[in-house]
């Protein structure tokens, strides 16, 4: 069992937790992920690591309540525990040699982008952060980004906070004004990453994206997380769990990834509703 050391509600649907997992805390690097099960009969879900405290032996995860499993996890309180927590899995973000980068984060993806931004900043890299959310109530980690970025641009879809529009708007402006980044890290919804790549393309700026597909074991065994890359005109199949989760944004087939992400949409919606009903009954 893995204890929940702290729990914090970042916005109405996003929760931050610190989990006691000393072996994982000692090793995990920005960009890597863990797989957890809430209880003995639960589903395995991957979550990218949002931070670690090796001394305390804790790993921070930040997740959005979108389905049955995240709903159950979100109901857990500090002091309670979850049955499984394994990692760190996947490859760490490659940050070496980068002097000036742009971090583009969308929604809960900002939680994964943040440790990357922090690591880059700690290596003396100049970080520009563009973070986007649907509205002001959903904004998370703004202060953390400001603390490690030379410039932080906050965007909301409805303009209720920061500038109105999506994250590609200021990115394009910066690139058009002549800003040159060694690399852009785009972490968020697939569609956001797809359009970030499209925005960067005319300027030839390299883009790293972080994928979060369906997976079970996270060690290359199931192949559920496979994705097609277009590499030098050839189609290459790779597994996000062992070859990623970060990939060259120019190679990723986002349309395929979006389609595969909806494989269990019906099941998930049903399971989510069932879980909500169950939890509501317990409350009554």
């Amino acid at each position: 069992m893995y204890s929940i050391i702290s729990r914090q509600q970042l916005n109405p649907t996003v929760v931050s937790m610190e989990i006691h997992a000393p072996l994982v805390a000692r090793k995990a690097q920005p960009g890597q992920f863990i797989i957890l099960r809430v209880h003995e009969e639960g589903e395995r879900i991957p979550l990218t690591v949002a931070g670690t405290d090796p001394e305390q032996g804790t790993v921070r995860i930040i997740f959005q309540i979108v389905g049955a499993t995240t709903k159950l996890l979100g109901e857990k309180k500090a002091g309670e525990s979850i049955s499984d927590f394994v990692g760190p899995l996947g490859r760490a973000t490659e940050t070496e040699g980068l002097k000036k980068v742009c971090i583009v984060g969308g929604g809960v993806g900002c939680a994964i982008a943040m440790p990357v931004a922090q690591k880059l900043a700690s290596q003396g890299c100049e970080v520009t952060s563009i973070i986007g959310f649907r509205n002001r109530d959903l904004v998370i980690l703004e202060e953390e980004f400001k603390a490690c970025s030379a410039k932080t641009i906050l965007m909301t879809d409805d303009g209720s906070c920061g500038r109105q529009g999506n994250v590609t708007v200021p990115l394009k402006e910066l690139l058009e004004q002549g800003e040159r980044f060694d690399r852009i890290f785009a972490i968020g919804p697939l569609v956001m990453m797809k359009f970030t790549v499209a925005a960067a393309k005319p300027f030839g700026t390299p883009v790293t994206v972080s994928m979060n597909p369906v997976m079970i074991d996270g060690t290359g065994m199931c192949g559920g997380c496979r994705m097609t890359l277009n590499r030098n005109g050839e189609k290459v199949v790779q597994f996000a769990c062992v070859d990623g989760p970060e990939f060259d944004g120019y190679e990723v087939d986002f349309d395929e990834a979006m389609s595969r992400g909806r494989m269990y949409a019906d099941f998930e919606r049903h399971a989510y509703e069932e879980t909500c009903n169950l939890l509501n009954k317990e409350v009554q």
């Binding site: 072996l23 395995r44 499984d84 394994v86 079970i216 074991d217 060690t219 065994m221 199931c222 192949g223």
Partner: protein, 473 residues
Amino acid sequence: MAKANMRPDKNPMPSQDPKVRARNFDEVALGYTEEMALDEAMRCLNCKNMPCVAGCPVNVHIPEFIQKIRECDFEGAYQVIYRTSSLPAVCGRVCPQETQCEAKCVRGIKGEPVGIGRLERFVADWHNAHSDSAVSVPESNGHRVAVVGSGPAGLTCAGDLARLGYKVTVFEAFHTAGGVIVYGIPEFRLPKAIVRREVENLKAMGVEVETNVVIGKTLTVDELFAEGFEAVFIGTGAGLPNFMNIPGESLKGVYSANEFLTRSNLMKAYRENSETPIMRGGCVAVVGGGNVAMDAARTALRLGAEKVYIVYRRSMEELPARREEVEHAEEEGIEFHLLCNPVEILGYENPENSRDPKNGFVTGIRCIRMELGEPDERGRRRPVPVEGSEFTLNVDTVIMAIGTSPNPLIKSTTEGLEVNRKGGIVVEEATGATSRRGVFAGGDAVTGAATVISAMGAGKTAAAAIHDYIQNP
């Protein structure tokens, strides 16, 4: 001694009715009764030179345990098997006896061999049902060994070392111990309660099992040595699923057999209220002809498929699955499309509506007929496509069961560990010793996908070699 029973055929295995079992996940084979076991045991000639023992990768003393059955000393029979095999209830069910012990049985020359596997299963089940004798905890010799992977190779190696007094820790990446016998082999062929019991027995002997630890990620082999383990056994299996690299393999509804079986077996997606999803019903094509393909096909059927097809590029004669499994599959209504090879998986695409939720789901598999040509390097006749013979099977799910490759996770994080061209760990066959001092390996991680019993044999060999390595440094 009573005269041998010279009936030429073995006692048939009582089984669930095919129509009934095709819709449930209960065990197919029901096991011998005492009467059947006694009768079958009487068929053994108790040959002096024991050819059957030579056919067993872990050298079970077969005539000796059968003799105990004749004496109605079923617990005694179990103890004979348990001396050399740590997983009798598992082996009695999933070993390919027809190519091992039973293939060497003298009774097989005229008629059927003695049903050694069925007798082993009977004895193991009798023990599990009747014996309450606590596992004896061996005296510790103070030496620590790490076993990586809790499949058949790892469990056997751990068991043998524990009996010799070693303090063994088994590291498992998944949340449950058992490896392929938990995630790969379905409940209807090997009930998971049996595996759990075997693991509990090991724990009772003092073996520690650490789940949720990925060696190569959470800890490295070097860190295991630094923590005080004197030797490491790697039994991580053949993890990575192969695909065909044909168009359409990324469509929704295409699984590797690993994923499909893991969802059903390990994650219990076959249960109605499971939190882990799996595609059910419709028509299913399973590509491949091995035991894994049979397991996937029969699982799909039990999950409610209307039709399940096996698509295999050679003929029935070359089909590598166990005969028994093929017969079971046929009885249950699995249709075999032999001498066929997939060329493309087809998916739904609504030209009017790019947001149609059905878009991107599998609708069919396009195959080409094959004929057998010249034998290849392994002597199997090579299948050659028949031009213009393409046809389509309408299916909703495609399961690729065309083999696996060893997982590179440990290799990539362990300096000095030599692997072959296919990624298998290179070992000295007689000992399982790798190119790295103190590191031993066995099972599918070395050989690529093989059988449970050959992995157990390798675990056993390595345990003896590790004992020798630590005692005679």
